[in-house]
């Protein structure tokens, strides 16, 4: 989810800037139109971001991102099934879906805490400690979900 979102978000903004630039070509050049003068296509922008992501992201953060996108797929599948096939038994849906969502949230926290660029915010907290918290929280979540699904 995280890489996709980062990849997607600039794309529409690039598209809008392009659209606005084409509409306001004869008008006074704005800041956005000035920026778009690099003549990059949206594909190129996206590819650039992706390349940048591959270059600058540590391997462990990439691992986290893979896991999170896996969770998004599992969560979407469960939700779609619930919409299509009905929510009986509801506690099973709640526990299955919330286990995925909860795991996603915990993993996102781990990603924030272990990110080298956030060192200023988590100076006290070592990545090992963050990982231990993550494992502890996940175990509680799994136990809760298994108990709740009965």
């Amino acid at each position: 989810m995280a890489p996709k979102r980062t990849a997607r978000e600039p794309t529409p903004s690039a598209a809008t800037t392009q659209a606005s630039s084409t509409a306001s070509v004869p008008a006074i050049p704005t800041k956005a139109s000035l920026k778009a003068k690099d003549n990059q296509s949206p594909q190129e922008v996206a590819l650039g971001i992706w390349q940048n992501y591959l270059d600058t992201t540590p391997q462990r953060t990439k691992l986290i991102d893979v896991f999170m996108s896996f969770l998004v797929v599992v969560g979407v599948l469960q939700f779609v099934y619930c919409v299509v096939a009905g929510n009986y038994p509801f506690n099973a849906f709640l526990s299955g879906f919330s286990s995925t969502v909860g795991q996603f949230v915990l993993t996102a926290s781990l990603r924030i805490q272990t990110n080298g660029e956030n060192k200023a915010d988590f100076g006290e907290l070592s990545p090992e400690r963050a990982f231990a918290d993550f494992v502890f929280g996940s175990l509680i979540l799994h136990l809760f979900c298994i108990n709740f699904i009965n």
Binding site: N52, R60, Y81, Q103, I149, N150
Partner: protein
């Protein structure tokens, strides 16, 4: 030795004599003991049915319905008196107290003796209205006795009454063959209020009868008190505690003279009875039925044992009448009902079209189910029903509320707690196939997590290479 003998005698006595289901102490209030002879056959009937009778005059000092705060008698028969009042021992208040204490009263009226005002007010209290003319009586020009009242038409001949509703038991039909005639001589008609559900008439006046005051000079009755079946000749009131109160409009109906009398009906509407023969009245049998009903000899219901138990999947639980059930339990309820019939308890069967019902209620009934008779013993019927408790927890009652005209009231309530499912009583998730996708969801999440943790621990943290180009892009 002597006490043994007396006990034996007492036992024999109680076996031999038929007795009302609620005791045999009967007080007969009549003005003059000499009047007793007029009712000798009726009284002999009562004694033959096992009543021990005390005779008192209303003026007597000894007459008292209560003794030390308890009922002194089980039943009271009030025969007409000439006195204007009944004295301090038989005030309407005391008579009502007597009913409230479970005593039965049979009240007879007579048009020749104006009804005492205290009795009129007692009847008003029960929503039974008497004609305002003190001498009013029932007259019928189409159903009178030609032998005794050819001139005055004040001996009304009535057939035995039909059941008031098809689903109500008729205790007053005699042998049921029909053709019986009841002579109702010079009776006082009653009108019943609409509001009281406790009042039921036994005998209504024929369609052509009306209330007439013989003191009126006019040829025709103007503005009569009532006419036709609006007039009740014999009225009953069964109180909520099943105490019974009956008004017989004509005390003469009970007299020997009318027990034996031969009557011949007049020509009725549409030429009915043109070839009528003189027949003997059915007064004696009818009086016995009315009196028997009033004095709890017939139409009395009794509940024996009540059982309810868990009956899951057709397996009867050993624990009867548990205090607690769970929602959606399968439960069986059994109730044993007997009916008293003159001298013994017999199995109770509701009239065709009627049914005994069980309510399973919390404030309002969640279930109202018919009870079906399953077993019949010598003197009772066992009614059963099985059902699934509602999906609602709380305090519930098994309630049988059987109130029917002419039958004593049954109101049985057994309170149970209905609890919700315990945590371990729900079906496991894998039993429900609908839950499988979400079990798979949890499984995938946990497996993915385990794989992630393993990879994380296995992988070595790679130091971040911060290139200048990366900073440029950001």
């Amino acid at each position: 030795m002597r006490w043994l003998l007396s006990f034996l005698l007492l036992g024999l006595l109680s076996v031999v004599q038929a007795v009302s289901s609620s005791g045999n102490k009967l007080l007969v209030v009549l003005e003059d003991l000499a009047e007793k002879s007029k009712y000798s056959k009726y009284i002999a009937d009562l004694e033959g049915r096992g009543f021990s009778i005390n005779y008192e005059s209303p003026k007597s000092d000894k007459v008292a319905l209560f003794e030390l705060g308890e009922r002194a008698y089980d039943h009271v028969l009030l025969l007409p008196t000439k006195a204007k009042g009944l004295g301090p021992a038989l005030t309407p208040k005391l008579l009502l107290d007597f009913i409230n204490a479970g005593g039965n009263i049979l009240l007879t009226l007579s048009s020749s003796n104006p009804t005492p005002t205290s009795l009129v007010s007692l009847l008003l209290e029960l929503d039974i209205h008497l004609p305002t003319d003190r001498n009013a009586l029932v007259v019928d020009h189409f159903n009178y006795d030609t032998l005794s009242a050819a001139e005055k038409h004040d001996v009304v001949l009535v057939p035995r009454p039909d059941a008031i509703r098809p689903d109500v038991k008729n205790f007053f039909r005699g042998d049921g063959k029909g053709g019986d005639v009841i002579a109702f001589p010079r009776g006082v008609p009653q009108e019943l209020g609409n509001t009281s559900p406790l009042l039921t008439p036994i005998l209504r006046a024929p369609r052509t009868a009306y209330s007439y005051n013989p003191k009126d000079e006019g040829e025709a009755a103007e503005d009569p008190f009532g006419a036709g079946p609006q007039l009740s000749l014999i009225t009953t009131m069964q109180a909520r505690n099943s105490a019974r109160f009956t008004v017989i409009g004509s005390a003469e109906l009970l007299e020997d003279a009318w027990f034996d009398a031969k009557v011949k009906r007049s020509v009725g509407l549409g030429g009915v009875g043109t070839d009528a023969k003189s027949v003997k009245t059915a007064n004696q049998a009818f009086a016995a039925e009315v009196t028997g009903w009033t004095f709890n000899e017939i139409g009395v219901l009794k509940v024996g044992k009540i059982e309810h138990y868990l009956n899951e999947a057709g397996v009867k639980s050993n624990i009867t009448n548990p205090k607690i059930y769970r929602v959606k339990n399968d439960v069986t309820y059994e109730i044993e009902i007997s009916e008293y019939s003159w001298d013994k308890w017999v199995p109770f069967t509701p009239q065709a079209g009627d049914v005994v019902q069980l309510e399973f209620s919390m404030l309002s009934p969640f279930h109202r189910l018919p009870l079906t008779p399953t077993t019949t013993t010598k003197n009772s019927t066992i009614y059963t029903t099985s059902f699934r408790l509602p999906d609602q927890h709380g305090i519930f009652n098994f309630k049988v509320n059987h109130k029917r005209p002419f039958l004593s009231n049954l109101e049985e309530k057994n309170t149970v707690t209905v609890r919700h499912f315990a945590h371990d009583e729900w079906p496991r998730s894998w039993v429900i196939s609908g839950a499988w996708p979400w079990i798979a969801g949890i499984g995938a999440t946990i497996t993915g997590w385990v794989a992630f943790v393993a990879l994380w621990l296995w992988s070595k943290p790679v130091p971040l290479k911060l290139t200048t180009s990366g900073k440029k892009i950001q």
